[in-house]
Symmetry: C2
Subunit: 786 residues, 2 copies
Amino acid sequence: MIRHPAFPVEPWVVRETSLDLDALAQTESVFALANGHIGVRGNLDEGEPFGVPGTYLSGFYELRPMPYAESGYGFSESNQTVVNVTNGKIMRLLVEDEALDVRYGVLRNHERVLDLRAGVLERKLEWETPSGRLVRIASTRLVSFTQRAIAAILYEVEAVTEPTTVVVQSELVANESLPEPADGDPRVAAALRAPLESELFTEHDTRSVLVHTTHASRLTVAAGMDHVIDGAADTEHFVEGFADLGRLTVSATVKPGKPLRIVKFIAYGWSENRSVPALRDQVGAALAAARRDGWDGLVAQQAAYLKDFWDRADVEIDGDVELQQAARFALFHVLQAGARTERRAIAAKGLTGPGYGGHSFWDSESFVMPVLTYTMPDAVRAALMWRYDTLDLARERAKQLNLAGATFPWRTIGGEECSGYWPASTAAFHINADIAAAVSTYIAAVDDEEFERTAGITLLVETARLWRSLGHHRPDGTFRIDGVTGPDEYSALADNNVYTNLMAQRNLRAAADIVARHSLQAGELGANDEEAASWRDAAEKIAIPYDEALGVHPQAERFTEHAHWDFEATRPDQYPLLLHFHYFDLYRRQVVKQADLVLALQRCGEHFSAEEKARDFDYYERITVRDSSLSACTQAVVAAEVGHLELAFDYLCEAALIDLRDLMANTRDGLHIASLAGTWIALVCGFGGMRDQSLPLSFAPRLPAELTRLVFRICFQGRRLRVEVTRTHASYMLTAGAALEIRHYGKAAKVERRRRLTLPIPRAPRRDAPTQPRGRAPERRRPDAD
Amino acid sequence: MIRHPAFPVEPWVVRETSLDLDALAQTESVFALANGHIGVRGNLDEGEPFGVPGTYLSGFYELRPMPYAESGYGFSESNQTVVNVTNGKIMRLLVEDEALDVRYGVLRNHERVLDLRAGVLERKLEWETPSGRLVRIASTRLVSFTQRAIAAILYEVEAVTEPTTVVVQSELVANESLPEPADGDPRVAAALRAPLESELFTEHDTRSVLVHTTHASRLTVAAGMDHVIDGAADTEHFVEGFADLGRLTVSATVKPGKPLRIVKFIAYGWSENRSVPALRDQVGAALAAARRDGWDGLVAQQAAYLKDFWDRADVEIDGDVELQQAARFALFHVLQAGARTERRAIAAKGLTGPGYGGHSFWDSESFVMPVLTYTMPDAVRAALMWRYDTLDLARERAKQLNLAGATFPWRTIGGEECSGYWPASTAAFHINADIAAAVSTYIAAVDDEEFERTAGITLLVETARLWRSLGHHRPDGTFRIDGVTGPDEYSALADNNVYTNLMAQRNLRAAADIVARHSLQAGELGANDEEAASWRDAAEKIAIPYDEALGVHPQAERFTEHAHWDFEATRPDQYPLLLHFHYFDLYRRQVVKQADLVLALQRCGEHFSAEEKARDFDYYERITVRDSSLSACTQAVVAAEVGHLELAFDYLCEAALIDLRDLMANTRDGLHIASLAGTWIALVCGFGGMRDQSLPLSFAPRLPAELTRLVFRICFQGRRLRVEVTRTHASYMLTAGAALEIRHYGKAAKVERRRRLTLPIPRAPRRDAPTQPRGRAPERRRPDAD
């Protein structure tokens, strides 16, 4: 779907002007609506045709057994998989005696618009029945940011030429049949067939509620709907209930200019503890509240919520309107993934599709939270509180692994480890440092003393304990961390992965610092100055391998002595490599799936000189294939820092357009939330040059030739900072809060409220452009050609 | 089953004087009979009670799907699992109206004797029925070494006090129900339920044949039986056939001194290609041939075959009669595993049980063939020809793994890779060098020009190609082999494993040499002097890491920098460690499951100075836990070489008694054939000090205090060499063949036929005894106490 003609570029909306059935599954992901709590894919109102039908609830999963050809101690046994729950978005339509199905009759026109300011998905179509009747349908769908249990649909049907009898069936459907997953690709979640057992169904007047429980995980979900019907005088309705179906049937005559208008309110409630009647009543109450505010009320609340968000978070880009659109689309979906999780996980796909089984990974802390920390800090607090809530599971897992402290799962929904291949999961201990870094960053950016004294100190201490027990000292005092897997999944079980060790170092120091600041709370955790000193010592002596001969950092010890990958002999159809080459072959060679050492250059940049960064970046560019979506944004940031601005721009665009252009060819399974978050990272940390590892916040902005102006906004310690970057200057201004010290290209500066501080941007160093493996350079973007 | 009172020690038999039902499964393995082609466990004649019923055919398996929680490219998809085929050893007995079952009535006495010279299992029992009748039963069972398709039973039942009516039912039973496997231990083969589909059954007079095919692997097996009945005049019989049952029923009156005597001949034929009628006829013909020789003929052939074997291979030990017995028991079972495989695999458990799914591993080439090469070279030829037959599969696997040449499977029955956990299988490339070493050793020890020019050169060339493509050169010319797993399964995916690299070096050089010797055949394989030169270069420059600070060889690069295992904190019930600790934790620490670097000290000893060996051995003793049965014998050999003779003796005894004393607590699943072979290795290469990596053969014999004399015999290049070792001297003598040059403690010597060359044994160097991890020292053996 590269540069799809049906997607004209507009800065504040994503518009599709005709329906491409082959791209249906992809557009369902692109047009998905969510609030972090509930998510609905952009399936057509009438239910069919569909690519992947999907309605998801945060933290709602079924369990599947995990089989092993040869099992081993500590292998995960049970997989949590996101469930397609009761579908409340179905509005079937009968026109005279023809059911609306866009595959039949004539689709005169069809338009869908995702409005990023209104927070709604609009759809308009004109359909001529096979027998020649013409109707016009308009639907608007939202998932409310303000009433988190609620989604709503405004459905209007109107005759175009003559009075027409229509029947609308508004449904709740449980246990929809799903398409079979594509074979052979382990990344596609296994479809779950009929996961829901009926517990109860009720119906009354315009309302229906279905309650179901999953077979194995024993989670209960109640789904309800209520309606407001506005039609001609002859309009009639009745409601029915069955175990897996609730249905309101409305029949009416519609005339030109006299539409039948139905507002549908949909509510979900779910729990592992609450009873069936309690959940039934909970959705009933949510429906009543929504109905009281009415459609217009919900729409107004939604717009207000988004206005506030964009005021805080909008990024303005001059010079590339498609990138502008993509950046806002990306931020909108990051918001949708994280806004109202309220102590549940932010999944890799958000709530937009079944990919990765609905699991949350390190993506959440490493890519999504860096954005949310500065744009929607409450969402970060909620997501970190979810980690805190799962601490006992993580402690248990550490014990099982013969380690101290806590070991968080590589992939999970509920907190239990759900990985089935341990070298690329259990061994990827860096996730614990990633969580700790998210905690530290949040604490630094937000004045939240209560968090710091509860979840903050606990998470930092327990992860520091993990590192202290995972590493060991050599006779010369060096602290080594052996046999772990870094971010790059084309290496595994290596010694002293630089990213892991530097992040562990940060984790250990942060824990020692917070123990010093909060000795009372530390005492409750059994931590004291002696333990903190042992963390500081380990951090101080942590091994950071360096290849003197090459003058670069190996991503792990001896990495640079490994065999090279034969990129010349690798065909384009052999990417992603993991589907065409055995892990052993990938692991033993210098081929990199995704930024690893380069991620260390970004996140732990203070450990590298400018020249080291340039050499390291150049070295890893030559061997990084980006078979992961968690790479381009990092490469963009470091490319920008070392002076490869055009390359940085190309990587930024790849991160930003990953789903709008389906660059990984799997947007159908859901959006790449981390890559979308990476758009903001590439802009703010790349071209804005923002770094937050140590305070004051520092900036080193510099634009590529393609852009003339960049504006971004961040929330920081109760302030709001606006940064505007042009080719020659950067302007800093606070729109709220007290004066703030920052660093601009290493020099201290003070930013004040409503006063623009303009500073010059030095020239970029001139360096030869690095090369990438054959065929793996990012697409060279030419905004003019659009 | 330590020092079981029912096992008195005798040098040429293993005798059990009473029946212990709790040890039934173990004794079924100990009393298993096999000829390398068919194998029957020592199940009681009457079928029940049983521990694990088992009848196995070499190369006969069913396929099972291999599931993965997260699959990957090149993961094995289908598992070959040994099948318990049609059971022909059942002889049920009804005494008056009571069925013989040792759990009921009174078992007056019960004795089983495995006669290592006769090659038969004898059983005698007196049983009093619940109603008081007393019968005496004698059965003798053999699996013929001379007629490889044939097993036979002589079954005699006699009344002790008064005339008694008996009914004997001699059966063929397909699809016996099996006990459920013990849960949680991945090493126990999954039981296969009803694996056989009936194709045909016939019966006539005293004969019955059943033909079945496996569901998935589509292998067909015919099992037949015929009988000679000798009883009182009133003896009657009839035969019946069913899909899964053939049954001959004999009824007779037996009196004291007038037994009913039944000879049962059992024949098997199986194939993936031959038709059902062809296999039916094949077993019919085998039965006819056996019947023609008769019971006495089969028994006489068996004894002659074994006399010849013991003349060639017997090892005499003075000073420890239990060890003498164990050594012969071990050699007997090695013979049973390898004798008549005739181009099929030698499995880790031989044909004695379902353990490891009936798979063959590197054990075969690395532990069993070194024994067979010098005692039964034809068996080695046949087993290596099996590898040769599977070369196309190994070439395909290499291609799949992006490698040149051939990659042999880590575990298999038919030649396809059946491992379900690749870090400890696919990555254990050393198996290819182990196969090459077996080829080289066979070629050196046996004048077999034809083998050398066909299978020999092909196996060496294709494995050399593998190494050449698996390794790579560094800028300084070093040839590295990264990311592989050595013999020690508590490490994985390490760089430059010393054992692997030294064995690869040998492989590369052997291939280069054979190409030089046979340029015509090399040409047919596409090999030439240029390619051979590249093998020699790689071999010359192969990386052998060394830890200068410690003065020892790390088993793989940086191994000695890894964390130590906390042996003090490890409880005895936490062994084997792999069932109580996660692989990641084992892999990152200095804890060794089984000899790895120490195996290199034995097999590639020429690369280490005597002092290096002593230091290395000492270092690895401190961290080797022997959670594998493939370790004690190697530790015995190297302990003997470096002068720790008592320790060597203890390790020898552990290897030798592993199954007689059930030291690994899993003899029930089958015997540890490689450890039994290791008994010979510990004696001949340990206390005999034999080394064969380069010619002439060298010896450095030295006895421990516990032994006064050791005699062993080897076949070598058409000669037979007898070596006798006492405390002070070694005598070498040829009993057949032309004069032979050897080395004795490094000095050349010539051994002639029928002339005893006696040479003095130097004193052992005095070294402090090494220590082992807490609780993991071998049991100190006190032969006097027996």
